[in-house]
Amino acid sequence: MDFINLLALGFGEALTPTNLGFCLVGALLGTLIGVLPGIGPTATIAVLLPITFYLPPLAGLIMLAGIYYGAQYGGSTTAILVNLPGEASSVVTAIDGYKMAQKGRAGSALAVAALGSFFAGTVATFGIALAGPTLSSFALSFGPAEYVSLMLFGLLAATVLARGPVLKAIGMILLGLLLGMVGIDAGSGEERLTFSAMELFDGIDFVVIAIGLFGFAEIIENLENHEARGVLVSKLSRLWPTREDFRRAWPAVLRGTGVGTFLGVLPGGGATLASFCAYSFEKKISRHPEEFGEGAVEGVAGPEAANNAGAQSSFIPLLTLGIPSNNMMAMMLSAFIIHGITPGPTVLATQPEIFWGLVASMWIGNLMLVVINLPMIGVWVKLLTVPYRLLYPAILLFCCVGVYSINNRIFDVVLAAGFGLLGYAFRKAKCEAGPLLLGFVLGPLLETNIRRAMTISHGDPSVFYERPISLVLLIATVGMLVLMVLPSFRRTREEAFQEEEA
């Protein structure tokens, strides 16, 4: 079958020494930043983006993807052992994982987390492999009108799924849309919001905003926290789940995988949302909800499987439609563009080695991560003792070098620093920067597609509801809007996020 051949092609690409090497580098880096609280995959990938230009396209993408799902593994380690979630997506893992560790079942929790993640990663990778070709032939029938409807849906979904008040999320998206307008408008040749600065003619670079809002701002915020060091690291006993843990964990892993894979595909979804939903889901259907928070193995297995599945499946819309569903995927999108590849249906046809190589590398990377994380766990825990006074200046330097090297100009570094201050202000105001980034990426796409649709139809807006795919998407958008206004839904949403705050 053709599918087998393509998968073989992918494994052939992913198993070359270079690509295998970069896969390992990505997995190691991901675990590293996953273990260290305060440095997330978004910031890391933002810093490393400019460097990938000097790598072959596939190697660069493999490494960046490895960082993303590697962080999901690393984050759980510290969450379980020291109650320090390294990543937002492992916050819920800490609830039951740390309790298990206190009761002397740390090894069991770690093994369940790693094996659950591996299982979920495998399933989600196959999901991408199967969905990719099907979706991408479907994607060719996506014209400007369909893209407009899809993006409206995506932007609205991003507000629903963002943490905190809806109003703040909408504000951030609007700000993102505004920032996306900076530059010379391709349709009319007019300057917009450039303040006559030549450096702004091509708009603000994505990396500048990303490094500012995530890299710089994260460091400023962390400087406020007194180092929570000297935490007791729980003792590690046997690194294998008991029979009883196994029996209880595997259905939770299955459910987590399902929840994660589904939520990863949705716009605005991804690993963090998936893990929160999986946790509340497990708690809801469990026959012993009182055990949750006291060391229930399902509370580790479900979210850990879900965050990894979500991390993988969020690649589906990017690879098939060229649309990033969350800010991590927006970073991946610019990594593709740096190499002159526009992700979308044509990539699968013209450069199958990129798509299949990436998919195959994800599975290999997941396998590597199980090995990296289980036997080498002691090494990662030691890392927590590296003082931040050494770590932060190094990260700051990388940020500056990274931003400067995009266009070789100081202007961008200053701009990124400005966005760093802005990002810090956002954090103080409890505004999430994610929706802003999504608005920034989707805004220009939305605008140009509206224009295209209207030009092609000679100004007739009926294209948006006469084309079936577009109509379905618009109905879904309206449905979501109605849901948002309904008081009962708003209450549930608030409750769902309250758990996260706690």
Partner: protein, 318 residues
Amino acid sequence: MKHLIRNTALATTLLLGTGIAHAEWPTDRPIELIVAFAPGGGTDVMNRTLAPYIEEELGAKITILNRPGASGEIAYTALTEARPDGYTASSLNTPGYLTMQMDRKVRFDPKKLCPVARIVEDPGSFIVQAGSEFNSLKDLVEYAKANPGAVTVGTTGLGTDEHLAMLQLEKSAGIDLTAVTFNGANEARTALLGGHVMMIGINVGEFVGSDHSAFKNLGQFAEQRSVIAPDLPTAKEQGFDVLVSSERGIAMGCDVPADIRTKFSDAVHKALDNPEFQEKAKQQSLALSYLSADDWNKEMPVRAERLGAIWKLAKEQQ
């Protein structure tokens, strides 16, 4: 022994100290070649391929620095502001360089920018889906005459090669086409593949170099057929007055002493004749078309005038 080392070091320092002002160009330090576009693009790859052969001719080192942005204006400004000592050169691309001066005041003085050599002239062309009913520009024009405005053309923005070509064809054939703007050639190509636009503009070099089983080309927009596409008829041959091509070359500041500019220009010419380079150019489907500094300088105003006339057309339409 220690003394000897120290004395030698001292002597060298002295020598260098007096020598700075007199070191013969171009051996003093590396020549900086500014590329006005992002790494990995057509202009960047061309300059990076050519640079080692110029190095060979000059016996000097060339370093490439990408200064992308504002269609090249950032690079041209940097070039005119650099010290006129012959250690800074820049890529120079038309029609961008010429069209940017028509609409607004640019941040650099075009009189301070002197061409060194034209390297490539890549004609524009129009492509349609392989299964399209159009086989030539004539077919297309007939259809457009019968259905005014129904033909949608994907371009990459106002005043780009494809857009200007479209305007010329409209005027020359007396037809009405609809321009649809895309962010870059890849997006336009995907839209053509999905049948969302009927035709897109693309440079012949890009077309020849890529897999084109899904598309067919209707004609190229140069005076003569390009060396890389000898079988593709020009628009002129088909009876339409459409002349649009992208030129890529190198420029230096006009304040640089004339003898240095001439030496550099000669070195570029010799590098272009190097069979090794020509082999590489063929692999990359570069439409090589050398013009000397003088010839290019003379040709530029003619081109600017022609572009100006089309540009006016574009402005009237808005």
